[in-house]
């Protein structure tokens, strides 16, 4: 069965790759214009969002965001809202002009994720909660024998919230094989590397021991992301799937990447040109 979004689907990897560049540029410009937004947290998950919304993975209808048969996407790491808002505007959920009003008085959204925005399922910003909501939604789908999927995108920083692991136990116990959990493993929190702060590794083993099927990929390689997501609908396992997408926080902008100081900030002053130049240069690599 083809998704409602088939008209938007890009099948060739070079097209998807080019699309990631466009999305990155729009995220950066949106945040520069607003003077705020979590740029680096957004950049790390661009390939995942592009694969889901433009790679033909998810079923959705931008003209009818509440379409009952849609796949649900829950952004648990709500600070990456610019990445999702740009993706949703790109997919046609609302006019792209809305991005110019990001975090402005006349706009419809701000820094953290807001459920009233067309295409957004939940409010997020306080971490660790979206995963549980997604699990509840997945259980409801199984109970009602509906065949849509529920995708949850988690940050690795929010894995420190204990309730994440309550939900992980729950999802495996209830065999939520319609739940696809993607962890944006950028190794960085607000102030430090996860492995300095408090070790998350061996992370794949942790998820496996909780009862998940685990795939580890380079989350900034659109080819690998597509390969991991392509067959989620035909998966036969009873276990929920966790995709550890290893990424770079700030991917595409060398001057901001992998630097804790850039958490939750948009470039200002001279840094604006540096960031733009970095991003343009990354497209040529």
């Amino acid at each position: 069965m083809r998704g409602h979004n088939s008209a938007l689907a890009l099948s060739a990897l070079p097209d998807l790759e080019r699309h990631c560049q466009e999305i990155r540029t729009t995220i950066l410009e949106t945040c520069i214009k607003a003077g705020t937004g979590h740029v680096t947290s957004s950049m790390s998950c661009v390939e995942v969002l592009v694969a889901l919304y433009r790679g033909g993975v998810m079923r959705y209808d931008p003209g009818n965001p509440q379409w009952n048969g849609r796949d649900r996407f829950v952004l648990s790491k709500g600070q990456a809202s610019p990445a999702l808002y740009v993706t949703l505007a790109d997919a046609g959920f609302f006019p792209k002009a809305e991005l110019d009003r990001f975090a402005q008085a006349e706009g419809i959204f701000g820094v953290h994720l807001q459920h009233s925005v067309p295409g957004v399922e939940t409010t997020a910003g306080s971490l660790g909660m979206g995963f549980g909501l997604a699990a509840g939604m997945a259980l409801a789908a199984l109970k009602d024998r509906k065949n849509h999927l529920v995708f949850a995108l988690l940050g690795d920083g929010e894995l420190y919230e204990g309730s994440i692991w309550e939900t992980a136990m729950f999802a495996a116990h209830h065999r939520l094989n319609n739940l696809v959990t993607i962890i944006d493993r950028n190794f960085l929190c607000t102030t430090d590397w996860t492995e300095n702060l408090m070790r998350l590794e061996p992370l794949a083993d942790k998820w496996r021991s909780f009862g998940f099927e685990v795939a580890t990929i380079d989350g900034n390689d659109i080819g690998q992301v597509m390969a991991a997501l392509k067959y989620v609908r035909s998966r036969r396992s009873a276990r929920p799937l966790a995709i550890l997408a290893e990424t770079t926080k700030g991917a595409g902008i060398d001057s901001m990447a992998d630097e804790p100081i850039w958490h939750g900030a948009a470039p200002t002053g001279a840094m604006i040109d540096t960031a733009r130049t970095d991003l343009a240069r990354s497209f040529k690599r």
Binding site: E121, T122, G132, G136, L139
Partner: protein, 311 residues
């Protein structure tokens, strides 16, 4: 159907309605009850024991509710409110996902279990949030009616059940639309306002005072928060004073809510508050509920004495 425990009355009604409505889901944080066992046995697809993990219960329950399920979450009162408070704030108060939190053991319901199990702050904490209603249950008839309303209206509510089996105050068929009920009219210009188990305590205080030849005090059962201010003003019209009686810390509790409602409406009625002084702190005392009340100053004889001084 008289004098069932609130818990049994509540879950029996949920069970009856869940049989007819497959979208009703009951989540238990490893809590049992005879009527819950019936749901687990007869309606197993509608029952989830998520273990002692209240944060997960609220997010998973909210996810189910987002997809159209009517969800109840059951645990001991402090755990289903305070342990998962931020989940409630974001999912329910903020996103307005309908859900019914059911906490058993209001006040000193688990008297001898110690202060971890006493529920002395729930009214103050939960009434701070928009969109959440608190149903503070005073008898089995009300418990049953609230169960029914929770399913029919799919609102966001916290049902505060007493653990003790208390005599029924209401007749079956009573409507609970107003948020409060005048159980006894005042013949002396003074009325007592209670909630939950303390409505029974208020009745006992009024009885004691009348027995000793004192005047006939009014008694009001305030069973829902936020306070229905209009109904309260109507109920205290012509009175010179009301005294609130609660098994809850005084800051932010029933008395505070009554003071706010009357003051905001310039009702011109004085309010005296009887409850647990926060300065006393938590209570590591045993020997039953009335003994704990005595430690804080709200045992029956202490209340009788305190109220008499107001007359």
């Amino acid at each position: 159907m008289s004098n069932l425990s609130q818990r049994d009355a509540f879950w029996t009604r949920v069970y009856e309605m869940a049989r007819e409505n497959r979208d009703v889901i009951v989540i238990s944080a490893d809590m049992g009850a005879p009527a819950l066992d019936a749901i687990r046995r007869d309606l197993s697809a509608q029952f989830l024991n998520l273990g002692i993990a209240e944060q997960n219960a609220v997010v998973v329950g909210s996810g189910l509710a987002l997809e159209g399920k009517t969800v109840f979450i059951y645990a001991i009162a402090p755990f289903v409110t305070l342990r998962c408070l931020e989940q409630i704030r974001v999912q329910n108060a903020m996103m307005k996902i309908p859900l019914t939190l059911v906490g058993v053991g209001a006040g000193f319901g688990y008297a001898d279990s110690g202060p971890t199990h006493h529920m002395l702050e729930d009214l103050a904490v939960l009434r701070a949030f928009p969109a959440i209603e608190i149903d503070s249950i005073s008898d089995g008839v009300m418990a049953r009616a609230v169960a029914e309303r929770s399913i029919k209206e799919r609102r966001i509510n916290y049902v505060r059940l007493d653990r003790q089996t208390l005599p029924d105050l209401y007749q079956p068929g009573q409507d609970f639309d107003d948020g409060l009920a005048v159980l006894r009219p005042s013949e002396c210009g003074v009325a007592l306002i209670g909630t939950g188990v303390m409505t029974h305590q208020a009745l006992a205080v009024a009885d004691e005072i009348a027995k000793k030849g004192g005047p006939k005090l009014g008694v009001i059962d305030l069973y829902r928060l936020p306070v229905n201010g209009q109904a309260l003003v109507q109920a205290v019209k012509g009175l010179k004073r009301v005294a609130t009686i609660e098994e809850h810390f005084l800051p932010g509790g029933l008395g505070s809510a009554v003071v706010e409602a009357l003051s905001d409406r310039n009702a011109g009625v004085a309010v005296s508050r009887f409850g647990l002084p926060a300065e006393k702190g938590y209570c590591y005392q045993y020997g039953g509920r009335e003994a704990l009340r005595g430690w804080y100053g709200v045992s029956l004889p202490q209340l009788v004495e305190g109220v008499r001084r107001l007359l």
